[in-house]
């Protein structure tokens, strides 16, 4: 037995020696090939002429690389970097300026818009980008009827090319903020390879923006390089790599371990606080147009009583929410129209913050007391607005219960269930957030208050005066007049309280010391061509 074992051991030794030799040979061959073919298959980018590469980490995802169906913040950011629209927002002034269009005329009181295009615009493969591409792309959005198509179909009756460099839009009714709509991706011309009738979610042909897609691996990375035919200034870097992470913690770790240069959306407030104190990182604060608010169902008791809704508004302490939940990374908000946008007024300030006395008075008027408490069901989702959401719900519960006349049941459901319940009006009181589609007060008021447009919030709010005012404001071209109307609507909003504005979010990005400068558009999109990195 011992001898047999020994002979087996002998074979084992020979086999082991063989394996070691094979490994050494493979390793040596691999090393030699890597060395010889370094420029081709090998990695060694550092050995080449040091291209300026920016690596951006995000926890967002790209949905459809197709403006006919993409309808989320991050995908719109990417599309805005690989495509160009007729107009765009100037990052320095915040005003709308020409991009593909050099000028435009407004005719028939805002019903007809004629854009004159530049003649040197080209797609990333050198194909000229003309008025016919704009028409084809906009008609494509109308045909496909994807998620953001309403931004076109609700407004545009007809789009036509008057010649190679003139596009004419005829609207259904005059829209004073049409330029803000034209700056959104559904109006971007796309490369002729995009199928005319179908969504192409992994399309890499892009548009005529500053970058083109070099490599796209869904959920892993997106590599962009400058579009050689771009008519605008040359990007300040040679390559942008976007890496997708699963959560904020992984994103922060990647930044701290030096794997990425910029940690973009979305780090937790705690991460931002911690990174502010760390050497070698820079926290960039971006004034945000993102708002958080409470939705109140106005169609069923007990919240159909406006006194109850006002009491809830009075008891809220926005400063406490901003400090405790968000560690000072957000600002208190007193209207649905965010601070910094024209027409904004602090409409809800009339209730004060944590005005317990007023809240108790209102509750008493509504028939509630310490013995007969108002019972509120507050809903939140733990799977969409980050880890702070349960804290936000908990603090609101505390604030309302401080009146001594309210009891709050906090309930939660995960995101996809939440939106389904929300739309069907199942929540008495719920927490939501909003990013703008286009930069205009209309986008902060109509989707919430217009009775024909607000079913998605489940509030059931219906006020014919507000409907009329909002419709009127949409067609007036004089901004001063519109401003007056929006201020009036915000006053009514604060009287009726179908929503309670809570906070206005800022966005944060954290960069490594390698990043020298960057710019963000007024829509809060990171402009990749402005990112400058050292060596």
């Amino acid at each position: 037995m011992y001898r047999r074992a020994a002979s087996r051991r002998g074979i084992g030794k020979a086999a082991a020696a063989g394996i070691i030799v094979v490994i050494i040979v493979i390793a040596a061959a691999a090393y030699l090939m890597a060395g010889r073919g370094g420029q081709g298959a090998g990695t060694s980018p550092a050995a080449q002429a040091k291209p300026k590469v920016v690596v951006i980490g995000v926890t967002d995802k790209i949905t459809d690389l197709d403006p006919a169906n993409a309808y989320d913040f991050f995908t719109w950011e990417v599309l805005s970097n690989i495509m160009a629209g007729l107009v765009k927002y100037d990052p320095d002034t915040g005003k709308i300026v020409g991009d593909l269009a050099t000028s435009w005329d407004v005719q028939e009181g805002g019903k007809v818009w004629v854009f004159h295009l530049r003649k040197d615009a080209k797609f990333a493969d050198g194909t000229p980008c003309t008025a016919r591409d704009v028409v084809r792309s906009v008609e494509r959005v109308m045909t496909i009827k994807g998620d953001p198509s309403w931004l076109v179909t609700d407004f545009v009756e007809k789009v036509e090319a008057l010649d190679n460099y003139t596009v004419k839009f005829t609207l259904k009714t005059p829209a004073s903020y049409f330029l803000a709509l034209v700056a959104t991706p559904p109006y971007f011309p796309v490369h002729p390879k995009y199928p005319p009738k179908n969504i192409s979610s992994d399309a890499i042909w892009g548009g005529c923006g500053p970058y083109k897609i070099q490599e796209w691996k869904r959920d892993e990375k997106l590599v962009l390089v400058p579009n050689p035919y771009y008519y605008g200034p040359k990007p300040k870097n040679d390559k942008v790599i976007i890496v997708f992470y699963k959560n904020a913690q992984a994103l922060r770790s990647a930044l701290e371990s030096g794997e990425i240069d910029i940690a973009w959306r979305t780090l937790n407030p705690e991460d931002i606080e911690a990174l502010k104190a760390k050497q070698g990182f820079k926290v960039v604060e971006i004034p945000g147009l993102f708002i958080r608010y409470v939705v109140i169902r106005t169609s069923q008791p007990p919240t159909d009583n406006v006194l109850v809704r006002r009491a809830l508004a009075a008891a809220v302490n926005r400063t406490e929410i901003a400090e405790v939940v968000y560690k000072g990374t957000v600002e208190p908000l007193y209207s649905l129209v965010p601070k910094g946008m024209w027409s904004h007024i602090d409409a809800f300030k009339k209730y004060g913050d944590a005005n317990i006395t007023l809240a108790r008075q209102l509750l008493q008027q509504a028939g509630y007391s310490e013995d007969n408490k108002l019972h509120i069901e507050l809903w939140y989702t733990p799977t969409h607005y980050g880890d702070t959401e349960s804290q936000l719900a908990a603090i609101l519960k505390q604030e309302w219960e401080r009146t001594g006349m309210i009891t709050v049941d906090v309930k939660s459901s995960e995101w996809s269930q939440y939106v389904s319940q929300l739309r069907s009006g199942q929540f008495m009181v719920s927490l939501l957030g909003w990013y703008p589609d286009y930069l205009d007060p209309d986008d902060y008021l109509t989707p919430f208050l217009m009775s024909t447009a607000n079913s998605w919030t489940g509030t059931g709010y219906n006020n014919s005066q507000v409907d009329q005012l909002l419709k009127q404001a949409q067609t007036i071209t004089d901004q001063a007049q519109r401003e007056q109307i929006y201020k009036q609507v915000q006053q009514i909003l604060a009287d009726d309280v179908p929503y309670i504005p809570l906070i206005q979010g800022k966005l944060y990005l954290v960069t490594s010391s390698k990043v020298v400068s960057l710019k963000v558009s007024p829509l809060m999109f990171l402009l990749y061509d402005t990112i400058e990195v050292s060596g």
Binding site: A41, P148, S149, D154, S201, R218, E220, V243, K246, S420
Partner: protein, 337 residues
Amino acid sequence: MGGLARYLAARAALIVPTILILYTLVFIILRVIPGNPVLAALGTRSVPPEVIQEKMHRLGLDKPLYVQYFDYLAHALRGDFGESMVIEGRSIALDLRDKIPATIELAVAGFTASVLIGLATGTLAAVRRGSLVDGAMRIYGIVAYTLFIPWLGSLLILLFAVRLHWLPAGGRLSPLTELHVVTGIYTLDALITGNLPAFVDAVKHLVLPALTLGIVLGGPYTRLVRVSLGDVLHSDFIRAYRARGVREWRVLLYALRNALIPVVTYMGLQLALLLGGAVLTETTYSWPGLGSYLYDSISMRDYSAVQGTIIVFAFIVGLVSLVVDALYAIIDPRIRY
């Protein structure tokens, strides 16, 4: 071997009803829980109801449930898992083809790590029976199983990636590493294409996720090896070796060979756990495999993606169990079918 062939044929035939039952369960659960892919993708966007209806129609979600059930099944049987309901036009089969190699790579590495950790700790405990080391290993054997993967993963990331900068925090390759993908198993691809830096980078990315899986799944091996090796070390033939003056480490090797039979048996059983663990490991380490894909698809209610992934998972588990069964017969001549 005729008996074995018959047995394996019977086992292979059982994979079909297993998949069918799983598919049915998943189909029902997905439709029972509130939410649907269209609303989940839209979130709070203020989209007109007509657009939502149009999309539901396009995705076939307005068809009766039994039609949806059989439609998908008929296509799946032909290997067509349909298109994503969230990323329109994206073929699920293509997605799965992209994700499977990543999961295989992680599963193999995690499996290897768990066996190595289990063997090392189990042997140490068996040899030093009754000592403090034995006590520590026994505690590990019990505690390992209760460790929450995201928690353990976060600790390892904090230590090895953030503090020490030894290893990357997540992903499969560094953003700047270029690799020509052949099989989708990056370590293998790097070797095939002779790209040594990419190989080193891929291995570095693999270490932490594999270690996490290895630590969590290594516990049962520790217990098995400890008990089994302990018994063998007290058997007559080991005593005979020692009496003949065979060196202790050689004795240990012989003993280990005999003690491994229950360990091999357990390896087969561990596969389902390994794939389950992969879901959490992949999410913690941003590893773009089947687990991450399943997690995302469930969150977004992507019915076709979840159904397709579950079918593939079931098929893999069934197939590997079959292979393990066949291997038993080959490894252990006492086993007859």
